[in-house]
């Protein structure tokens, strides 16, 4: 039986699911595009606001859904991210002629998956949340039917995603055989101690890591990332980068919070972090297409996230959660701005961005601020997040990772600033005025303010995470 407490805790999920269904129905009845987006934004914001309030209990008694501070923080983050992405999409989709109510409904379904993942206390819900989210992105990546490359990106993402889902399911199955339970805390405590030499548990963790490497786009499993980033609509890429990757980092945090040290996981995670930082940054250096460059940069940024996960003994999990949120806001600003620029006729190459800083000041300004943040220049959230990660790594004694991370971060400044230089230091051919809708302006300004505010005053969020992740 569902009690009142159950309903109160599960309400964000219910709001998102019902909101998505109403969006679909409204699309069948009415002919106006805006209605679907309006309903979807209202549902996302409503679910986000509801998950911010204090719950009656930390665990829904009948459903096993968690309502801890970490869950509510990330649920609210995912919901507001979805609302922002919907608003960005509204103007971009009008420009690209992506019609239909399935777009806002799919965004809501993907958000539903993320919130379910955030509230999971057992591996079944975790897996289903992750898959529900990824299903949404399979559709969203291929939604621009007028473009050949969009469906190609969707196909590549789908095949790789289904493969990783199979690995994840097999890994979880092996861990289940070892422990006989799907509860996260039980499985983590019995299968991950350094003394465990059970081959089944090791094989299970191996499969699980392969699956997670795909979701986080870490280096041996990163090949889908540049293709999807290049071909999907920019608001979708913003959601993928800010929502899906934050959800994958959150999943690792939720798993690892139950153990004191990494044990057998340390070596593979170390290797993934190392390769992602090196390959991601080096490949980004050679790119002349802006979106591909940002895709490789996102691979490198996830490498920094894994450095934080490896540094678990030096409070690395807080740094990872902080960086996931910070990176999400940075990529929202970056891809939101790219969406506005492309709607104003900007091409994909670096040369097309020349002189846009003078003709389109709002979008270029937001893009420049987010690039400074991604490069890790103070006083932005990118700097604070990287500082926390490398401090945690040094506290744990992972000096090699910390030094390599700082070096590659220094290298990465070159390719970020190359784009900023193209925006402001060179004169472009295009002489046109900027057309940007009011919500895009407000959202870009808001995310830039957040980037700088979280960079200067990270203490409040950090203290909250510290209490949650002890």
């Amino acid at each position: 039986m569902m009690s009142m407490a159950d309903i109160q805790i599960a309400l964000p999920l219910l709001i998102l699911a019902i909101g998505a269904l109403i969006t679909l129905i409204c699309g069948a009845i009415g002919r106006k595009q805006t209605t679907g987006y309006l309903i979807a934004v209202i549902a996302a914001v409503g679910a986000g606001l509801w998950s911010m309030q204090t719950p009656p209990a930390l665990l829904a008694p009948g459903l096993g859904l968690s309502a801890s501070g970490l869950t509510r923080l990330f649920s609210a983050y995912f919901c507001f991210m979805a609302a922002a992405v919907l608003l960005f999409s509204h103007s971009y989709n009008r420009y690209r002629d992506i019609a239909g109510e399935e777009y806002p409904a799919t965004i809501l379904f993907a958000t539903f998956g993320m919130v379910a993942l955030a509230s999971a206390t057992n591996l079944l819900l975790l897996f289903l949340g992750l898959e529900a989210m990824t299903f949404g992105f399979y559709i969203l990546a291929a939604i621009d039917r007028e473009q050949d490359v969009s469906s190609e990106a969707g196909l590549k993402y789908l095949l790789m995603g289904a493969l990783s889902a199979a690995f994840l399911a097999f890994g979880i199955g092996l861990l289940y055989c070892v422990r006989g339970s799907l509860g996260i805390s039980e499985i983590m405590q019995t299968t991950l101690a350094a003394t465990v030499r059970d081959p089944i548990a090791l094989a299970g963790w191996g499969c699980l890591l392969i699956g997670m490497a795909f979701k986080l786009s870490l280096v041996p499993a990163h090949l889908w990332t540049p293709d999807v980033y290049e071909a999907a609509p920019p608001p979708v890429v913003a959601f993928l980068s800010g929502g899906s990757k934050a959800a994958a980092v959150l999943l690792m945090v939720v798993l690892l919070v139950h153990v004191a040290e990494l044990g057998t996981l340390r070596v593979p995670l170390f290797g993934l972090a190392l390769l992602s930082m090196l390959v991601g940054n080096m490949a980004a250096l050679r790119q002349n297409r802006v979106r591909r460059m940002l895709a490789y940069s996102s691979i490198a940024q996830m490498g920094y996230g894994v450095v934080a996960l490896v540094s678990i003994q030096g409070h690395g999990l807080q740094a990872a959660a902080f960086y996931a949120i910070g990176y999400g806001i940075m990529s929202l600003a970056a891809f939101g701005a790219i969406g506005v620029l492309e709607a104003n006729g900007c091409g994909a190459e670096l040369d097309d961005y020349r002189g846009r800083g003078f003709t389109q000041p709002v979008a270029s300004g937001a893009l420049a601020i987010s690039l400074f943040a991604l490069a890790g220049i103070p006083p932005t959230v990118g700097f604070t997040g990287k500082f926390l990660i490398f401090a945690a790594a040094i506290r744990t004694g992972e000096n090699a990772l910390a030094i390599l991370g700082i070096l590659t971060a220094a290298v990465s400044i070159y390719y970020y600033l190359r784009l900023v230089a193209a925006l402001y230091l060179q004169r472009g051919a295009a002489e046109q005025t900027e057309s940007i809708s009011i919500n895009d302006t407000v959202l870009l300004a808001l995310s830039c303010v957040l980037i700088i505010l979280l960079g200067i005053f990270p203490a409040q969020l950090l203290d909250f995470l510290k209490i949650q992740l002890l």
Partner: protein
């Protein structure tokens, strides 16, 4: 239990490996890749059923049922995309779809 857990796990691992091989060998054909992934997911289901029988608990079977539901959703999505791509390019060969790559 008549069949010991280890036998079931070995069987499931072989099935999983066959699925991986299928994906790797026929990676040019979308349909064959999907079949390989299905085999891998079936191996995962088998592991869950074996585990739930070993421990006398039902949650593993629930997981297996959920994988069935997930797989059917995934296949319907993938096949819809295959039909759409086939209409565009008249092929299901993955190698034909290579407009997106590093230049």
């Amino acid at each position: 239990m008549i069949v010991p857990l280890s036998h079931l796990l070995v069987f499931a691992s072989v099935l999983f490996a066959l699925g991986v091989i299928c994906v790797l060998i026929w990676r040019t054909n979308v349909i064959m890749v999907l079949i390989g992934i299905e085999i891998m997911l079936n191996a995962a289901m088998l592991v869950f059923v074996a585990g739930s029988y070993q421990w006398g608990r039902a949650d593993g079977q629930v997981f297996a049922l959920m994988i069935i539901a997930m797989t059917s959703a995934e296949v319907s999505l993938a096949l819809a995309m295959v039909v759409y791509l086939h209409r565009r390019k008249n092929t299901v060969n993955v190698d034909e779809f290579r407009q997106l790559r590093d230049r």
